[in-house]
Symmetry: C2
Amino acid sequence: MLYSEKMTSTDKKVRYLPKSEQGAYTRETAAAGVEQALKLLEGRWKLVILFHLFGGHVMRFSDLERAIPAVSQKMLIQQLRQMEKDGIVRRIVHHQVPPKVEYALTDWGQALCPALDALLTWAADRPPLETSAATDETAQ
Amino acid sequence: MLYSEKMTSTDKKVRYLPKSEQGAYTRETAAAGVEQALKLLEGRWKLVILFHLFGGHVMRFSDLERAIPAVSQKMLIQQLRQMEKDGIVRRIVHHQVPPKVEYALTDWGQALCPALDALLTWAADRPPLETSAATDETAQ
DNA sequence: CAGCATCCTACGGGATACTG
DNA sequence: CAGTATCCCGTAGGATGCTG
């Protein structure tokens, strides 16, 4: 379980732990934590970029542009920079006369892979979703 | 690895599999799959609701309203209904003279817990993020 | 109690043009 | 090559009021 399940109707915040004291979350802190994590991934192109960088691939700006034709320069740079300041992506500048900038994942960014895999697996396990039958307890 | 890593510069879509044929993803389908999954979780209140329902808790509308004071009725109902049609939440209507509607997670919804846990763990492992030093390969 | 309807605003993100 | 700068628009989501 993610958070302490020991709660009765006297449901105050049982043991709020400041942060990074992993092992104990309340509903609120757990939700907030996941929200924080998701915010880092929100953005139309973040995931696409991420999946192009997974596996230690190092790509320069123009490589990414070519790999993701639908993205605009503005968006590409914007999302890359955000992920950089979030510590997910590493930006490597080579000072040359035709500029050369490469992007790669940080170790932490690379560590996202299994987490995303869990989501992917969850999504794949989706049942056919029945066409609005039952779920009506009238007969009880 | 999430997707087949066997790609050379001849990087066409190596084996695009229609769906739910888990075990083989390209960068594109993997990214799209995760995007799909994340779309189900996007929404200012989805996670908060989710974490209140985790653990098999069954709550009626007014319970959720009280548990999440900051949410408006409109938003609460909207996100609940979306999660319902997405197959994450189960809506249980009791036909009574003061109406009574309860919400609970589906099995699939409950199965989200470990995936979100993975994200939470990842987020908790975030390194201090150094104040913009290095990462400049000028000296090479 | 458990909603639906309407109005309104902030902002993510697309298109386009320019630059060190 | 690797960006920055403007303009513009769709939509998520807040506030408020009404109803079976």
